[in-house]
């Protein structure tokens, strides 16, 4: 029986998580059981300590504020779910929910919710995640392992192929209609210098002619060039969606004994043609895998050729992100490529100077590159350390010259010169071991805001080239100085609290703790850096060396403080999501991905980001307590 109202409700719900993860039938079952409520502004949906309703709520129109006492905890707008925690916990309400505008709400029975939980793992994970972000104490045992929208959700469902890299297809394929002659079609192919032409009808691909068809069917005299293209075209065509992997494409070509695949909007022959993938494209892609790239880097003799390789790496990165390859894996590969490029550039520069380094040295990546968390093209951040020796002035001059050559070459490759001059060619950051040591000691024993910023950058170093023992000596001095001057950690901890995360999203705004609304979100300073800074200060307080990436630091902390395992795990998850998010943003807009326009965020991305705010709040709370920051603030 037709049910127009339920269909309309379904059309609304299907745009929002977790409903988007449900099948049409599951969602229809829910939509046809919805109760629609209309509430005037300032009406309570439920109140603190009120007995549990048998349903949870979705905002259809209007907005609902969730309050703890008078303090706003969250604002829900169209498509947001609330009242879920109590339903899952089967507990009375901990918060007030009150309309802050005139609102229409969908109330969905908790019985139906249970059915979803039992039958749809993806929706289940979402529900648990979104409910965990509302719990008072998410580290309790009850929530174990269910804290966060686990990155596992992001991984491809089944990845039977090792080559999951997205195949890069040619957009704007050359097409013609069915009425033209073979000769005309061949002329179009010649003009466009392509080996194939797709015959379309209403933008749908219905056949294809390739060079091979012309050879086998025309040159042999089987057909005349005046016949219609339909006479010789291969039909139907083999179609795939645009995110086809290299492996899938290869298999499809082998299986069907063809050299071209049509890429259509939804992957079927009944949707619009958007591109073509040829065997040749596949061969090109094969040249674009990490091990080939690293080999090419080692053989490169000019900065220009390295630039070309780095561009290929960028394509690789896009493919990885599209395929939802785990971000820790992606960053390892991209860092390995960046390191290899830097090494090659150093070798080339030394050769150019025509003089071997007078003493041992090490080239350091610092800041986000030192943490191996930089996926996009970015400014250079580097430093150089060399062995103490007798001819200090001469030695320094050599390394400054070398560093200048390296910095310039890296700029050609595409790593722009650092505007703040945090580079090895700056005499301040090209020092002997003992100079670095005294500099670090000075920063630690006489901290101020500027020095703290430098610590945050220079303490995250990673050796790219040279003698590891030098770096180890630097680290020793840092820990020694901190040991003698532990108050430094309190300063560092305070510094890590500079930027609390925002509260939530509301329509096209970011909601601040103060209730203020903003339309841009600085994902770097408000979400990523707080996690990075917290990991750094806590790991330093444990006196452990050689953990210079944020994820590795949190992993080490889980080992060191098993009691805080849940918190650190949630930080790792949040960090991965944020890093992936920023990288995707950056690739999309061709920038650093730092500022996110809240207006253009999808609901699910808002929810995903919002889920990251909670661990940040919690880790900042831990810093506050551990370093007794409320006392020194």
């Amino acid at each position: 029986m037709k049910n127009t109202i339920a269909e309309r409700i379904l059309d609304f719900l299907k745009n929002f998580p977790p409903f988007d993860a449900l099948t049409h039938d599951q969602l229809f079952a829910i939509a046809s059981q919805v109760k629609v409520l209309y509430l005037e502004k300032d009406s309570f949906v439920f109140r603190q300590n009120e007995e549990l309703h048998d349903s949870f709520y979705v905002v259809k129109d209007g907005a609902v504020g969730v309050f703890r006492g008078t303090k706003l905890v969250d604002e829900c707008d169209e498509g947001d779910i609330f009242g879920l925690r109590a339903v899952i916990r089967k507990d009375h309400y901990l918060l007030d929910a009150k309309t802050i505008e005139e609102s229409i709400l969908y109330s969905i029975s908790s019985k139906l919710l249970e059915d979803i939980i039992n039958n749809n793992p993806k929706a289940n994970q979402f529900l648990i995640a979104s409910f965990a972000t509302n719990t008072r104490n998410p580290y309790s045992n009850e929530d174990k392992g269910t804290l966060f929208a686990n990155e596992a959700i992001l991984k491809p469902e089944t990845s039977a192929f090792t080559e999951v890299q997205s195949a890069k297809y040619s957009k704007n394929p050359i097409v013609c209609n069915t009425q033209i002659s073979i000769k005309e079609a061949s002329l179009i192919m010649s003009q466009n210098k392509v080996g194939s032409i797709i015959i379309t009808e209403d933008k749908l691909p219905i056949g294809i002619i390739t060079d091979k068809d012309l050879r086998n069917k025309i040159a042999t005299g089987l057909h005349s060039i005046t016949e219609d293209v339909e006479a010789i075209m291969s039909s139907p065509v083999i179609t795939f969606p645009e995110n086809i992997s290299v492996a899938e494409a290869q298999i499809a070509m082998l299986k069907n004994d063809i050299s071209h695949l049509c890429i259509t909007r939804d992957g079927t022959i009944h949707s619009e043609l958007i591109g073509i993938l040829s065997e040749h494209d596949i061969i090109v892609i094969h040249g674009n895998n990490p091990s080939v790239l690293i080999k090419e880097i080692k053989r490169a003799t000019t900065a220009k050729s390295l630039k070309f390789i780095r561009e290929k790496a960028q394509e690789l990165l896009k493919g990885y992100l599209k395929q939802n390859i785990p971000i820790s894996f992606v960053s390892k590969i991209i860092s390995a490529i960046n390191d290899a490029i830097t090494k090659r550039v150093i070798d080339l520069s030394i050769a150019e100077l025509d003089k071997q380094p007078p003493v041992g040295f090490a080239w350091l990546a610092i800041g986000s590159q030192g943490r191996k968390e930089q996926l996009l093209y970015t400014d250079q951040d580097n430093a150089l350390v060399y062995e103490d020796g007798i001819e200090e002035t001469k030695t320094k001059a050599y390394f400054l010259k070398l560093a200048k050559a390296v910095n310039d070459k890296l700029a050609i490759v595409g790593f722009e010169l650092c505007p703040a001059n945090m580079m090895a060619s700056n005499p301040k950051w090209c020092l002997s071991v003992s100079d670095w040591q005294s500099q670090f000691t000075n920063w630690i024993t006489h901290p101020n805001e500027d020095k703290m910023m430098l610590c945050n950058i220079f303490f995250d170093y990673n050796i790219v080239y040279g003698k590891p023992s030098l770096v180890s000596q630097m680290s020793d001095s840092i820990f020694q100085a901190i040991d003698n001057y532990t108050i430094f950690l309190n300063f560092m901890g305070r510094n890590a609290l500079k930027n609390p995360p925002p509260l939530s999203f509301f329509r096209s705004f970011l909601v601040e703790d103060t209730g203020e609304h903003k339309d841009q979100f600085d994902i770097k300073s408000r979400a990523i850096m707080p996690l990075v800074d917290a990991a750094r200060v806590i790991i330093l307080s444990h006196n452990v060396k050689d953990f210079n990436s944020t994820i590795a630091r949190y992993q080490k902390l889980i080992e060191l403080e098993p009691q805080n395992k849940e918190l650190y795990e949630s930080c790792i998850y949040a960090f991965r999501i944020l890093l992936r998010f920023r990288t995707k943003q950056g690739l999309k807009h061709g920038d650093s991905g730092r500022y996110i326009d809240v207006k253009n965020l999808s609901k699910s991305n808002k929810l995903k980001l919002k889920g990251c705010f909670k661990p940040i709040k919690d880790i900042q709370e831990l810093l506050n307590v551990r370093f007794k920051l409320s006392q020194i603030l």
Partner: protein
């Protein structure tokens, strides 16, 4: 005791009439059924019902599970109105004959308070169908959202109070306009809004007789 004193009605009608024997005056337990009919034209005497859409409101909430949507097989067809309601004579939607539709409708509405926009027309259409079946008129209390709107005195001298105009005025997103169920749903939202408005105006809980 003549034949005119007491008619013999079919069981379904008796079951419907039976629901009225226990009057219910409490607003909390009152079931409202918001309904709309799509018809071949505006003349109850000559035009036919194409479809009936209903949704119930209980306890202040529109209960989607308690809804009713039927399309009726046409013997008469008016091509002019197809462009409004979009129901083709031989479309793909499952249709039943009017007789069955009315039986099911009575079984669905029971003693609910009927709500419709410009209710007189929709009620007349149903009554006409009942008459063809030799049955008396609907026994239900009827609320017209157009009249209810006038009672709220929301805007003075407002002349137009078509469903379109009121949806616009009350910021109700219009979907599925000119399908019986779609219009019934919009009317239901309008009814909730008007009730809230009336309650604010009277500054007390509403009673059934306020409508």
């Amino acid at each position: 005791m003549g034949w005119f004193k007491r008619h013999i009605y079919p069981d379904f009608y008796n079951a419907y009439a039976e629901t009225f024997t226990h009057p219910n005056n409490s607003l909390d337990t009152t079931r409202f059924v918001v309904f709309d009919t799509e018809t071949t034209g505006l003349q109850p005497k000559t035009d036919k019902i194409l479809s009936i859409g209903c949704v119930a409101i209980t306890n202040g909430a529109i209960d989607v599970a308690d809804s009713f949507e039927r399309y009726i097989i046409q013997t008469q067809f008016n091509a002019d109105t197809v462009k409004i309601h979009g129901i083709l004579k031989n479309g793909t939607i499952v249709k039943i004959n009017q007789h069955d539709a009315i039986i099911q409708f009575l079984d669905y509405i029971k003693n609910a308070v009927l709500v419709a926009h410009h209710a007189a027309f929709d009620v007349a259409m149903i009554n006409q169908a009942l008459k063809q079946m030799a049955l008396p008129k609907l026994k239900n209390k009827v609320i017209d959202t157009g009249q209810l709107y006038k009672k709220t005195k929301y805007v003075k001298n407002q002349k137009h109070y078509s469903l379109d105009a009121l949806c616009h005025l009350f910021n109700i997103t219009m979907h599925d306009r000119h399908t019986a169920s779609g219009d019934a749903y919009l009317t239901a939202i309008l009814f909730l809004k008007l009730s809230a408005l009336l309650k604010t105006k009277k500054n007390r809980e509403l009673k059934l007789r306020d409508f």
